[in-house]
Subunit: 423 residues, 2 copies
């Protein structure tokens, strides 16, 4: 009975209880058959329960065809492809995804994009899943982006990127691109583009509109809801991935999204406080202190981690504190020691939403007296990137403190309102 | 001109530009007067800008009077007071808050509660701000709670607690109270009870109703919206503080709240999947492995922190991974080393919302092969507490893995739905 069927084959599996139809994928567990169902989900079936396997269709990978022609009548943009699901296709060997062979394939399923813009250039500086992004890749990306933005006949940039760390990259680019002149739209998909249900189509289309808009910000453009109806543009320093799998995973934290973007090209501005398109020359400004860390305080957390970072001569540490920006009293001596050794210690809110306030409770007053910097309403991830970037430029304590508490790239919102919560 | 005015005095301060009225509080900054405005916010005014200070009212702290009488006609509950804003009052010396003198004062501003329940006992095992909670306090609290729950004439428990780490305590109690028989309602306030606008009143009242209900869960009871209209009860293992200052700061993550609780005592069940009131004997089961840590992966994070924890002979580590549960490839050798040394490594979602899936991307498949445990839809904070608690009972790898992936106290929701996001 146990005949070997090639992964990628569309099969029907019969067990005593049920029949299953799907594509057989390579199983990582012994004695278990793995089936990719039509829904996209994988299920495991114990081999010993299998009564019969019927081969319905031999394996054949979908070939994505695309001819990317120049259309000089349309406004130019450029695209940078960095990897991630949006530039991947299903790999039936593993049931996972693998990179596209040619970058142009990316646009095969978003013909609408090519009716709106002319893609002048495609750059693919590296092809990695976004969990492998590091400061080095941010710097490389900032360099290429700045160069493309300074080309006169280029209206804007689309960067395709994995979702895992997209909001870290967007924050990094926001600080690293000085005097930004045109839109930089980072986009993604949660399902690969060779799947009918991919969210890449709408995200690319809306990124096209955003790239031609007046919003000269580094922003994440993607689904605003779990339906395929419209997108939103979120400021790069205020964005966070908030769900493992939903299309509308990116949310704007502590301010409204910049805009809603519809399929017909309509852009509805939600937040007027954005940088306008200009004739500036963009400057890449990518210095970053790698000895910067982000750690979390929680009950039971030993301050020995903080002491370890001090011993390792870190230059900056952002602590995700509780409430208005607190740690336990057990952490006080370690924080004091770090600051005495010249390390910049900043605190951001692990609640994510809301603003810190060092004046309400005694613990925060104590921390502030020690020299801890309070990061306003900044996301912890953004605070980490901002601190690393500032320390790349100056290590003067007073200057660092001043810059951390000064709005540079939209990371501080002085006017939080009721509607900024869980929007 | 610079006459000294006593902190606590209600004053009018005149500067060239404006007049300010408020209570003068002790300033921590030289040359700056600090004023608590009627809105509750503090503002700083430079002494050199001050033209005149008028004393309007001498300092007098509000004395909170309460007579806590037994009313044998009402059902009994007991209250445990642990500290936090809900058992504090404004301290005009510092502009912050300080603990109440007598525990009974807590109920002065929630007379409604005393019309619904008879408070049989008040326990105050310690009085600390919640950022100072540790495993030891959780264990003490579990012990007292179990004892009170096993008193036959006691219908339920209210625990008042600071907000900073309330969701950590609720998760800890959920694991530490075995065979729970009655409601355990943790409640809080974001503004101290001697302020007219305090949220303590409604939260205490709704906790009273919840303590008499059929929901035998450890739950957080508090404001459901930013208005004073109704509360919600959130399962202790699914709750998270999501805003630094809002009344409705606690949100139910990856499942709906258990119930809405109205001022008239009506309880509307939103999630039928809860543990019912019973005649069980509750057992405290508080063993916890202190050598458990929670760390966050982010781009640029060095794996040396992981190696440090391995060197320090930690027994369990929860990593807040990106996306479906990933780290960079740079972390792989350190994770491998930790596991080889017998450390349990688990991964939870830094997105907070959604479920992990180790089958979609190659990095997660690799991590799972190494022996990393995937924490389903558990909050990272809950996963940390669960791992510490399990390791307090067994350090057998197979058993730990099995228990981590088995639902024990409502921490795993097998049926995530559309409506569970940002509710």
């Amino acid at each position: 009975m146990k005949k070997r069927v090639k992964p990628g084959t569309f099969v029907e599996i019969k067990t005593r209880k049920q029949k299953y139809k799907g594509i057989l994928i390579e199983s990582y567990e012994k004695g278990v058959l793995l089936l990719k169902l039509k829904s996209g989900y994988n299920i495991g079936i114990k081999e010993k329960d299998v009564l019969a396997i019927k081969e319905i269709k031999k394996p054949k990978e979908k070939e994505i065809k695309i001819r990317l022609k120049q259309n000089p009548k349309l406004p130019n943009i450029s695209v940078i492809i960095t990897g991630g699901t949006i530039s991947s296709q299903v790999d039936y060997k593993t049931g996972g995804v693998k990179p596209l062979t040619k970058p142009e394939q990316l646009f095969a399923l978003s013909p609408k994009l090519l009716e709106v813009v002319n893609i002048k250039k495609i750059e693919r500086p590296f092809q990695i899943f976004s969990e492998d992004m590091t400061v080095k890749e941010w710097q490389k990306l900032a360099g290429i982006t700045a160069k493309l933005l300074n080309e006169k006949d280029n209206q804007g940039i689309i960067i395709t990127h994995g979702t895992d760390t997209l909001h870290y990259t967007s924050a990094a680019l926001a600080f690293m691109l000085k005097d930004l002149n045109k839109p930089v739209c980072l986009t993604y998909s949660q399902r690969s583009i060779d799947r009918g249900s991919s969210d890449a189509t709408l995200n690319l289309q809306c990124s096209g509109y955003a790239a031609l808009s007046n919003i000269a910000e580094v922003m994440i453009v993607g689904h605003a809801t779990s339906s395929d109806n419209f997108c939103q543009a979120i400021r790069g320093t205020k964005a966070r991935k908030m769900h493992t799998s939903r299309r509308d995973t990116f949310k704007s934290i502590n301010e409204w999204p910049l805009a809603k973007i519809y399929q017909d090209g309509k852009i509805q501005i939600l937040n007027k406080n954005y940088n306008k398109r200009s004739n500036n020359q963009v400057n890449e400004d990518t210095a970053f202190e790698n000895k910067t860390a982000l750690i979390k305080f929680y009950p039971g957390a030993s301050s020995e981690i903080l002491n370890f970072l001090t011993d390792k001569k870190y230059k900056g540490i952002v602590i995700e504190g509780t409430g208005f920006g607190h740690t336990s009293k057990e952490w006080i001596p370690a924080i004091k020691r770090a600051i005495q050794q010249g390390i910049i210690v900043a605190i951001a809110a692990q609640t994510l939403y809301g603003r810190l306030d060092p004046h309400v409770y005694s613990r925060a007053r104590e921390l502030q007296k020690l020299g801890v910097i309070y990061c306003e309403d900044m996301l912890p991830e953004t605070a980490y990137i901002k601190l690393g970037w500032i320390l790349g430029h100056t290590q003067n304590k007073k200057e660092v403190k001043h810059l951390m508490q000064t709005n540079i790239a939209g990371e501080i919102n002085k006017k939080l309102s009721e509607r900024d919560f869980l929007y």
